[in-house]
Every structure is written in C-alpha cells, then in structure tokens.
C-alpha cells in the first residue's frame, strides 16, 4: 500500500510549535499553572491532550505542577510542564528531586524579564544561569534554546528524547520573542523523527536493581504499578534506592549522574556555524538574539566586514568545543545577550586569549537589534 504523505503547512507561534513537538514526541501528561508568556502551551494542551487520551491538569501552583509531572513520569508517562521565571523559581526544589531520582521530564521556561514578577510581557534571557544552578547541589543539566519556530518543534522533541535517554529533567529555554513569534512551519505527519523511549527492565521484578550502574550510566526504569517495587527518594541513595551515608556508595552515585550526561556531550551539542570559517569577528548568540546576529552579520559582510555567527541551541552543557573553535579562529568575539552577562562569562572562561571577547548587555525588555550589534563591532574592531 502506498503511504499517504500528510503535510500540514501552518503559521505557528513558538508556544504552539512546542506543543506540536511535545505531542509528536509522545507527551501524554501535562500539569501546569498558566503564566505569561507560556500560557498558550497550557491553553492548547488542555484541549489537545484529552482528545489524545492524555492527561491535562491545571494545578494550584508551580510547585504542585512539577510534583505532578514527576509522579506521572514515574508511572510511565511522558510528562511536561511549562512556566516562566516566577514559576520556574518555585519549581527549582523539585527539579533537583527529578535529578537525583532520575525522573525524565521536560520543563519549558518562557523567559520574561525579572527578577520577581518583573516584566510579564517582555522578553529577556536572564534565566540562563538559573537553569544551570537554580536547584541546589552538584548536578548536570541539559538546557536547550530555540531561535526559530522550526527549532521550537525540533528541540522539544529532542528535549523529550534526552530526558528519556538519560533519565534527566530537560529544560527548554524559550524567550518571550520566540514564544510569541509566528512563522510558517511545514509538518509532515509521517516524517521519520527519532523518538526515544526510556529503557524498561527486562529482568523479573525480584531481580530488578533500580539504580544499578550500566556502561551508559542510565539504569533501566520500571513504571510504578508494573510490579517492580522500588523506593524513590530525594536522599542520596544506594543502587536499590534506599538512603545511604556510605562514602563508597555516595561517590559513584554522584559521579554516575554526571557521567551519563558528560559521556554523551557530542550527542547533546546542537548549534550552527554561519560563515565563521573566514570570520574576523564572530558573534556568539542564542534565542531570539541569534536572529539579530544573523542580520548583523549579513549587513556587516555587505560593508566588507568578515562577520560570522555561532548560534547555540544547546545552552547547557556549555558548547565548549564549538566556542573554543571560534575563539581560536576569530580576532574578536561578541556575545550579545538580554541579561547582564551570563553566557559571556562562560565564553570568557574558556577563552585562552586568542580572541578578544566583548559583550552587549541589554536589559530594557527589548530585543537586541542588528544595528546595536553592528555599532558594537565598529566600536571594538
């Protein structure tokens, strides 16, 4: 039988594309509390999930939302929540719980101006470091950042895949501009998209060791209710899931949490180089600012300046190898950000001195314009 190609050409908002991506990835549980600029994700999923036999719950707050997401994931669901700065702050404690209990889940943070209630309807990129270190304790984290509507779709799928593959919470950092921007996107229903589902135990329940080390560092995960009884706790635990204070059990456990992400760095690094090969000036940017950077580079080239762009889609773990590459080949590196300098500090940290690193920090609730980047280039180059 010939396969029917179903093609949908849509004008989607960033938030709508996140929903499409999540459903494509198999998301069947959402718990959240509406907040601008992430509300559309809840709004649309509240209609779509019940139609697909999934579950949508509006919780009393963000603490309960992430709690419900973790519980649903432990029971086998592919679970997600979406929020913005204030809600993201409330979720931090339980994000740590998802890290230590190794519960796959996806948390969307549509970044708005902060601190506190801040600027509900205006964009910012100020939660980058909160994404990294918002929850206490030493832990690895994966955070992705789209700059186009297509990337909202693709990276949401990737976020689910990483969370299932490594049993980690994955953060999707969308800024208000991208969350509310609309662009045309073509979705092919039978597109061959890689969807990864968590590895389930193949041994009988009585042989199951829930937090056993494996070469990949990711233990098989049994659904609650499938007959595999095990203990889940936020306390540092042994391979059976019970609290431990033995140094010889604590150390390998914490190291394994790091290892399962670090040994897959190559798989997690997503980014794009635009004309960086011959560039004297490279702009390192992410989110909506990456689009301004592209424009600035094109305008700069027209004026005879050799400008390139490194667009980062993976924010954490930091794309060290790619950044080091442009630091080696460029004379000047510019890091425009809608914060007081969060990624630029990382860039400066890995800079061995071959390039000069300059920042553009904009915190007035407006997107950085191509003109502002060009002016900065003229100032420093």
């Amino acid at each position: 039988m010939k396969k029917k190609v179903q093609k949908r050409e849509l004008l989607l908002q960033g938030n709508e594309a996140v929903v499409e991506g999540a459903l494509k990835a198999g998301c069947n549980f959402f718990a959240g509390y509406p907040i601008t600029p992430a509300t559309e994700i809840s709004e649309i999923l509240s209609v779509r999930l019940p139609q697909l036999d999934g579950t949508f719950i509006q919780m009393e707050d963000e603490i309960a939302s992430i709690g419900a997401v973790i519980g649903a994931s432990l029971a086998g669901a592919k679970a997600m929540t979406a929020t913005s700065g204030p809600g993201f702050s409330l979720m931090q404690e339980n994000i740590g719980f998802a890290v230590i209990a190794e519960v796959p889940c996806v948390i969307v943070n549509a970044m708005r101006g902060g601190p506190s209630t801040g600027l509900p309807t205006m964009p910012s990129q100020s939660d980058v470091m909160q994404a990294r270190w918002g929850t206490h304790g030493d832990h690895p984290i994966i955070a992705l950042c789209p700059s186009t509507i297509r990337e909202c779709y693709d990276l949401t799928i990737k976020a689910f895949n990483y969370s299932e593959k490594f049993r980690v919470p994955v953060l999707l950092l969308v800024d208000e501009v991208v969350a509310h921007m609309r662009e045309k996107i073509t979705i092919y229903e039978d597109e061959d998209v890689e969807i990864f589902n968590r590895v389930k135990p193949t041994v009988p329940p009585e042989w199951y060791i829930p937090f056993e080390d494996t070469p990949k560092g990711v233990p098989a995960m049994a659904n609650f209710g499938d007959g595999y009884r095990y203990h889940v706790t936020g306390l540092t635990h042994d391979i059976r899931g019970f609290p431990t204070s033995r140094p010889d059990e604590i150390d390998p456990f914490i190291r394994r949490l790091f290892r399962k992400v670090s040994q897959n760095f190559a798989d997690i690094q997503i980014g794009e180089f635009y004309q960086t090969d011959d560039a004297d000036i490279t702009i390192i940017a992410y989110g909506c600012v990456a689009r301004s950077a592209r424009r600035a580079a094109a305008d700069g080239r027209e004026r005879g300046l050799k400008v390139g762009v490194l667009k980062m889609n993976t924010i954490w773990p930091f794309m060290r190898a790619s950044v080091e590459k442009v630091l080696r080949t460029s004379k000047v590196v510019i890091v425009p950000e809608m914060n007081m300098g969060q990624i630029s500090r990382e860039v400066k940290r890995v800079n061995k001195g071959d390039a000069k690193v300059f920042t553009i920090n904009k915190v007035d609730g407006k997107i950085i314009t191509p003109q502002e980047i060009l002016s900065r280039i003229k100032e420093v180059y």
């Binding site: 849509l10 205006m122 609309r182 662009e183 045309k184 301004s292 424009r295």
Partner: protein
C-alpha cells in the same frame, strides 16, 4: 539579494491588532506562499495601553523578526501614529484610522475612519480591524485580496463569516475611494498591483 517588507500595525490594546497581525501573516505566508515572521508587543493590561503587531515579509528565510524601517504603518490611534511615524521609510505607506487621528504627521497619509465605518455601517465596533485589513489589501502591494479573504474566514469564529466578509468589503471600498482622493494622479496600472 532578497527583499524585505516591514509592516507595523499599531494602536491600543483591545483594537484587535494582534489578531490582525496573525491574519495578515497567514494570508501572506500560507495563502500567498511567502516567508513571514509575525511578532507583537503589548503591555500587561488586556485593554488600553499600547499594542502593536509586526509582520516581516520576504522571499527568503527571515533573520531579524521585528520590523526595522517600515514599508507600511497602520496607526489606529493618535499616540501610535506619533510614536512610530519616524520609523517609516520615506516612500513607506501610512494608513490611519481617522476616527481617532486628527493630527497627521504628513499629508501623504491614507485617512480612513475604520472605527466609524464599523460603528455606523456594520453596527459592530470590533470589526474595525477587519475593515483595516481590507483596506491594506487594496493600498499595499504585499497581500492579495483573495488571500486576505481566505485568511480572515479561516480565523474568525463560526457564524461571523458574513459580518467579517462585509467588513473586508467595506474596507476595500473605502480604500479605493481614498486612493483616488489622496493620489488622484496615480499612474495607470498601480491600482491592480496588489491583485
């Protein structure tokens, strides 16, 4: 080199500017098949305050999604007209809702009382934005009337199709009238450029 056509629809919250932006982007992107990026900015309040939607059109992938120098500015209140007029290109098109805008920054502006037409002819003030869309399709060479009609009908709630189609038509008629008054010496052929 690819072209870029920057549109800003501005006014106050509650006038339906963001919906206009979505419909315009859909008409140009889905029905006319060009690249579009639509963005918006508004305050935390639901009504009042200032609101704007922007649509960037190109024949190639769009990098910077916000409007730069404007090819088309629609102003639905005096404040937005005053604030954004300076962003208009020298040959850019300015369309104003003359119900609210009494002081014009330039004589080269199309003045159409969208809100008054909505109130008096269609008895529903809320379709002022759809009337404006109809006018845009006749005044700006960026979207076809057919595409705008298809996009409007696909977006509006069921049961309001007739009202909205009438609103579009009213906008198109008003635009054609005002074009003759504002630029009586329009060269032949320009009039059909948009269809």
């Amino acid at each position: 080199m690819s072209y870029r056509y920057d549109i800003r629809l501005s006014g106050s919250g509650g006038q339906g500017l963001i919906l206009m932006g979505i419909i315009l982007a859909e008409a140009i992107g889905i029905y006319d098949g060009k690249y579009v990026a639509q963005t918006q900015s508004y305050g935390p309040e639901a009504r009042g305050g200032s609101s704007k939607a922007e649509v960037v059109v190109s024949d190639a992938e769009i990098d910077y999604p916000k409007a730069l120098k404007l090819d088309l500015l629609l102003a639905m209140n005096q404040k937005s007209c005053d604030d954004y007029y300076m962003d208009l290109k020298p040959d850019g098109i300015l369309i104003v809702d003359s119900t609210f805008i009494k002081q014009l920054p330039t004589p080269r502006a199309y003045q159409i009382p969208f809100t008054r037409i909505a109130r008096e002819k269609l008895k529903r003030e809320m379709v002022a934005n759809i009337i404006a869309l109809g006018a845009i399709s006749k005044l700006a060479p960026i979207v076809s009337s057919r595409a705008i009609e298809a996009a409007v009908l696909a977006r509006v709630p069921k049961g309001t199709e007739k009202l909205n189609r009438d609103a579009l038509k009213a906008g198109m008629t008003a635009a054609q009238k005002v074009k003759k008054i504002s630029f009586p010496n329009t060269p032949a052929g320009f009039e059909d450029e948009d269809t």
